[in-house]
């Protein structure tokens, strides 16, 4: 009998008393499948929209009318991310490289998640101010003043956002003249999304469809139609 054929001794992972089941905290497998206790099809599927169900998934509770409206508004403002932005550029490159839709979707999701993580991290002080609900907002989150020639678009966008919000919603934060991103985080915060992961999730998933759609328009393998010099790199090897 060779060593390969001998019965194996149990290893350390075989000798641990593991639990027999995996706990599920959000979705009861059913049937019927339930989300935070609500029947997914007979209840939520009949009476709630996708935005409200997404909100329920993230927070564990159904939104009020104002929360649902403001959350939906934030999703609409976050729903686009042009090719100038890294995640869209990455998704386009993935498609250009020939990856099928699943690969494009994966690349877009990872890049969007990383961008969202960095955005939320970069707004830590702003989010702490929102959570405190008092005091002076931290520096660094004010929109540039509107000027002719394109600058000030942040301020104009925030004004459009404020005009569409339910009365009084996130008013204190928006009155401080924040950047567009800071304003949208304030709206999400006021809507009841307080945890960094909830904010990251919303920032990452809201533009996912548009990002993937932009990429899927690119013919796989159309390498000559994509400039390798955008943006340019300069090889600067150090002496080994």
């Amino acid at each position: 009998m060779t060593d390969q054929q001998k019965p194996r001794r149990p290893g350390p992972l075989d000798e641990v008393a593991w639990p027999a089941e995996l706990p599920a905290h959000v979705m009861a497998p059913g049937p019927p499948v339930r989300l935070h206790g609500y029947a997914a099809e007979d209840d939520l599927g009949r009476h709630y929209g996708a935005t409200e169900i997404g909100y329920l998934a993230l927070t564990g509770r159904l939104p009020s009318e104002a929360e649902a409206q403001s959350y939906d508004l934030a999703l609409r403002f976050l729903a686009t991310l042009p090719l100038t932005e890294g995640p869209t550029h990455a998704a386009v490159l993935a498609r250009l490289s020939g990856t099928p839709h699943a690969g494009v979707l994966s690349v877009a999701a990872v890049a969007l998640a990383e961008r969202a993580r960095a955005l939320v991290l970069g707004h830590e002080a702003w989010l702490a101010w929102l959570a405190a609900g008092t005091g002076t907002p931290p520096d660094g989150f004010a929109a540039a003043p509107a000027e002719p020639g394109g600058e000030g678009e942040d301020a104009r966008s925030v004004a459009r956002l404020a005009a569409l919000l339910p009365d009084g919603f996130a008013r204190a934060a928006l009155a401080r003249g924040p950047t567009r991103t800071a304003a949208l985080l304030a709206v999400l915060h006021a809507s009841g999304l307080r945890e960094p992961w909830q904010l990251e999730h919303t920032l990452a998933t809201a533009p996912l469809a548009a990002v993937v759609a932009e990429a899927m328009r690119v013919p796989p393998g159309a390498f000559r139609a994509y400039s390798m010099q955008i943006p340019p790199f300069r090889y600067t090897p150090e002496e080994p």
Partner: protein
């Protein structure tokens, strides 16, 4: 095009020759470097001697624990279980992006090893080293690279110890410090070292900087993920696509009825998504 060129040390495509981390790929590296040497160049730009490459090979072999039951490896298998290996490989790697397991733990171990190795008063004084270790543990409430789950000791550390000793390489400054720390912490706290700290000590002695050790440890995980992802893609396991329902127990909020469903009464009534109204 308005942006300034992005400086890169990594590579440039040339005519008949390519630059890689400051080296000429064909003229300098081809036929000379092993895969482990190329990995060192990729992470640091520096070339390892043949002896050092052999040590890095030892580290790579000793740290490979690819049991598919281990969490990130199982993720690689679940994702690859639909028939394609690379998504699972990438997904497995994403699981390492945290401080609990994997490369960042090796990076954290390298940080304290580097700190203590830089203190000459600890070089030959075990009591002083024990105090310094206590300080590290008090400060971080744990010591990165120490603690072994599910078994009394990490067999990979012992294996790497033997391999380095056989090559006469168990006397490096960081490995020696690591060995003394192991001895002290086993005796005083019954705390055993795990492979993260061993990778850190060996990596530092190979000349990797503290901030490069996490990347080294991450790169060495490739064998775990490739093996699991490729096998799972070739041999999909239905149990990983859908678990037996008996494996899952729901512990979330109890069954409840939404306000709109309650208002609609027992009769299902018309669908009424609020935002579609």
């Amino acid at each position: 095009m308005t942006s300034a060129p992005i400086p890169t040390r990594v590579a440039r495509t040339g005519w008949g020759e390519h630059g890689f981390m400051g080296h000429r790929l064909f003229a300098d590296l081809a036929g000379v470097e092993h895969a482990s040497g190329l990995l060192a160049i990729a992470l640091t730009g520096r070339r390892l001697s043949a002896d050092d490459q052999a040590v890095l090979d030892d580290v790579a072999v000793a740290c490979t624990l690819a049991d598919p039951r281990i969490w990130p490896a199982k993720v690689a298998r679940i994702v690859s279980g639909y028939g394609r290996a690379l998504p699972g490989f990438a997904a497995g790697y994403l699981c390492l992006e945290g401080a609990l397991i994997g490369p960042w733990m090796a990076g954290a171990a390298a940080a304290w090893l580097g700190r203590l190795a830089a203190r000459p008063e600890l070089a030959a004084d075990d009591e002083a080293l024990a105090r310094a270790l206590d300080e590290e543990i008090r400060h971080a409430r744990t010591l990165a690279g120490f603690g072994v789950p599910f078994r009394p000791a990490d067999e990979r550390v012992a294996a790497l110890d033997r391999l380095l000793a056989a090559r006469g390489r168990a006397t490096g400054r960081h490995w020696s410090l690591f060995a003394r720390a192991r001895r002290l912490l086993t005796a005083s706290r019954r705390l055993e070292a795990n492979i993260s700290c061993a990778i850190a000590a060996a990596g530092l002695d190979l000349g990797f900087a503290v901030e490069e050790v996490a990347a080294l440890a991450g790169a060495l995980a490739q064998y775990t993920f490739f093996s699991n992802a490729f096998e799972a893609a070739r041999e999909p396991a239905p149990a990983l696509q859908t678990l037996d329902a008996a494996c899952v127990v729901y512990v979330g909020p109890a069954e409840r009825t939404s306000p709109r469903a309650a208002a609609a009464g027992a009769s299902p009534g018309p669908a009424r998504p609020a935002l579609a109204r």
